[in-house]
């Protein structure tokens, strides 16, 4: 069944106060997968799959179930994200300088599959990774270690004019640009363990979004910008939490499963996908219904 088929005219939604939503299993190979991301039309999902000593990006057609490698290099690649227009993707490419990793953010066109370096090492073996598009597709945020600590940066889509958005001796990671373009969520350890923070696209107006005993990481915005999902181990196990971005309600554990639930990602119609090993190995799951605040 097409994922998109249930989108139009949809009237049923999963409320944040309801029981854990039912989910549908998408993949079926058991191998570890990381950081799914959905195409704007909901037809494809891209994710990194670990097999042996490889980490490769795969694109899965939700309608046919067919999968293909996004690129063909034999070096590790991960963290792919579709552009807002769906015509290209940003991803983290591992150059693997002799015997050592060297991450860069590359862009690949959807049709021609031609990769282009976007954010490359400016100093030594710095790591540029975890790209996140702005909603206009004209800029992207990412993390980099080139100035001696892992910080969040933003750049124009040509990869030039880097702007450093964070400046703290702690670790800042995993930026996510809000659909209205006004806010970037990210994970930071500046207050202890990882918490979710929000800031303006120029790095200003930093504020703390989560405050829990456990770690909070991998923030992602719902398509309408009203909800934020992330992974947390605040109950002693990795679970997916969702909260309205206004913070009017407490965060809700929407997985409540003894398995590892990680790497949340929204579908264009407001369903929530995740990677979980609740079955026979790690698989991609998606909720049957969209969420509502």
């Amino acid at each position: 069944m097409m994922l998109r088929a249930g989108i139009i005219g949809m009237t049923i939604a999963t409320a944040l106060s309801a029981a854990p939503p039912s989910v549908r299993q998408i993949t079926n190979d058991g191998l570890l997968k990381q950081r799914p991301n959905w195409s704007p039309d909901g037809q494809h999902v891209v994710f990194a799959r670990h097999r042996g000593s490889t980490i490769f990006l795969f694109v899965r057609n939700i309608v046919t179930g067919n999968e293909e490698r996004l690129t063909m290099p034999e070096t590790p690649e991960f963290d792919a994200v579709f552009a807002p227009d769906g015509k290209s993707l940003l991803f983290t490419f591992d150059k693997v300088s002799p015997g050592q990793g060297d991450m860069e953010v590359h862009r690949i066109t959807w049709m021609e599959r031609t990769p282009t370096p976007m954010a490359i090492s400016r100093k030594g073996l710095s790591h540029e990774e975890s790209p996140a598009w702005s909603p206009t597709g004209k800029r992207f945020a990412f993390s980099s270690t080139y100035q001696g600590n892992q910080e969040i940066y933003a750049a124009d889509i040509d990869g030039e004019e880097w702007m450093r958005l964070t400046d703290d001796v702690a670790t800042d990671a995993h930026p996510a640009w809000s659909p209205d373009g006004k806010t970037i969520a990210f994970a930071t350890s500046r207050w202890g363990n990882f918490e979710i923070a929000l800031m303006d696209p120029d790095g200003g107006n930093l504020r703390r979004f989560t405050s829990s005993f456990g770690l909070d990481d991998y923030p992602c915005w719902s398509p309408d910008g009203k909800l934020l999902a992330w992974v947390s181990n605040r109950d002693g196990n990795l679970e997916i939490y969702v909260q309205d971005t206004a913070g009017s309600q407490p965060p809700r554990n929407v997985t409540e499963n003894a398995a590892i639930d990680n790497f949340p990602a929204w579908t264009p119609d407001g369903r929530l996908s995740l990677i979980s090993d609740r079955g026979d190995g790690f698989e991609l799951y998606v909720t049957e219904r969209p969420f509502s605040p």
Binding site: Q100, G101, T145, V169, S189, F213, N237, D280
Partner: protein
């Protein structure tokens, strides 16, 4: 379904499973596994432990992000993870190890292990033999002295030669730093018959015999699946007296064929015989399933099973196969993979051994060759740190629920008496009844001193 992998030769040519089984049926196998299982181990009667499972965390885990967190240290040291309480009052470990936190009463932590080298090759040799003799550094420099036998080989030697089920088994390939294999993984002067019998398990391919290497000039390149193998084996057998390496070849072949042709042995290796929920508890990834296989091997009579976390120190992102040597992006990789893989597999192993009544007679050790720099480097990673690190020890009559030793405020140096890996394994082997006397009787140099607080 049991899937036996390929028999790899020195030039990476392969014998298929069908060839192996046919060869096994044709060969003289010697004592069967069933016989071996009935045989009584010749371990000292009073020894509290009968076997050891060593989880070798190759590459060097960070002590500050596993078992010795420093939440009050500056952010450049403490890292992005918080400590969580455990079942032992006052003892805390990393929040990414929640299952192990619930089992702290079943193991003890050593927080003042100290090494003498920050080179994987040298520290690895020290960790596995108690001595730097013959160790090879990253640059290729070989330290003086003859390589000492590794702990498992000593167990194999003193507790008796293998009959059917090898006494010393390693799950995983040869350990490497870069492209250089380290020394100290085998029997050394004890002879190749006390080298580990290697197995491996991959979820994709099942059980494998990854490094069954033939002697020079004896690669079975001309062997096909049409019946020439017996002839070739006969030729090989005639070479036994002419080549010292043939003894090893013969030993390996006999073990391999015995294991492959003995139904009882095949059962031991068949993880599909385990209940699916148990396999999931271990985790259906290589390390998890290897820990389960280690339990089955110990249950079947193996005396020392070493599970290598990886063959290479480097993580996949650095051209490795998932090791702990994460100079870059340590936290990213540790959080996404290493932490829960270790947490789940080790917790399941402890539970499984206890539920089967085996934990009291099986020593479980989880340790790497060193720790990592307390101060986070400029690549969101941690570098090598030999001055202090941590290890976990459980079972086999050793003390549980204790923290032995401590590091200083920043996790840089021991704050209490320090222990070496030689001390750790002197303690472990002591639980098997292997004493200074039994070592010297076998012309082995005793290494280290037993850790009295761990013995209780």
């Amino acid at each position: 379904m049991l899937r036996i992998g390929q028999l790899l030769t020195g030039d990476c040519q392969r014998l298929t499973r069908r060839e192996l089984i046919r060869a096994g049926a044709l060969s003289a196998v010697g004592v069967s596994l069933a016989d071996a299982l009935r045989a009584q181990a010749r371990s000292p009667e009073a020894a509290p432990a009968k076997s050891v499972i060593l989880l070798w965390l190759w590459g060097g885990p960070s002590h500050l992000d596993t078992f010795d967190l420093k939440p009050n240290a500056p952010v450049q040291y403490r890292g992005p993870y918080s400590p969580i309480p455990t079942t032992v009052p006052g003892v805390e470990i990393c929040e990414l190890l929640p299952q192990l936190s619930k089992r702290a009463h079943t193991y003890s932590l050593l927080r003042s292990l100290r090494g003498t080298s920050n080179d994987h090759g040298i520290a690895g040799t020290i960790g596995l033999t108690g001595s730097s003799n013959g160790a090879a550094s990253l640059s290729g420099q070989v330290l003086p002295g003859a390589v000492e036998p590794t702990h498992g080989s000593i167990v194999s030697k003193i507790l008796g030669a293998s009959t059917g089920m090898p006494r010393f088994m390693t799950l995983g390939g040869h350990l490497h730093q870069g492209k250089r294999a380290i020394t100290g993984e085998g029997g050394a002067a004890l002879g190749p018959m006390h080298d580990p019998f290697r197995l491996d398990y991959h979820p994709d391919t099942g059980l494998e015999l990854p490094h069954l290497t033939l002697a020079d000039g004896l690669t079975p390149s001309g062997i096909d699946a049409r019946g020439k193998l017996q002839l070739r084996l006969d030729q090989l057998a005639r070479g036994v007296d002419r080549s010292p390496n043939m003894a090893r070849l013969d030993e390996y072949y006999q073990q391999a064929f015995s294991l492959l042709t003995d139904p009882a042995a095949r059962n031991v290796f068949d993880l599909d015989r385990e209940p699916e929920p148990l396999r999931r508890r271990y985790g259906k990834y290589r390390f998890g399933q290897c820990c389960l296989l280690a339990r089955r091997l110990v249950e079947a009579g193996a005396k020392f099973v070493q599970v290598n976390w990886s063959s290479h120190v480097e993580p996949v992102e650095d051209s490795g196969d998932g090791g702990w040597d994460m100079h870059d992006r340590y936290f990213q990789q540790y959080q996404d993979r290493h932490a829960w893989m270790l947490d789940r597999a080790l917790s399941a192993l402890l539970d499984d051994l206890r539920e089967r009544g085996l934990l009291s007679e099986t020593v479980v050790v989880a340790v790497g060759e060193f720790g990592r720099t307390p101060k986070i480097n400029n690549k969101a990673g941690r570098d090598h740190w030999e001055h202090v690190y941590s290890g976990l020890v459980a079972g086999g009559g050793l003390q549980a629920g204790k923290v032995i030793g401590a590091s200083d405020r920043l996790g840089e140096y021991p704050a209490t008496a320090a222990f070496t890996s030689a001390d750790l394994f002197a303690t472990v082997l002591g639980q098997l009844g292997i004493t200074t006397t039994s070592l010297t009787t076998n012309n082995l140099l005793p290494q280290g001193n037993r850790i009295e607080d761990l013995i209780g």
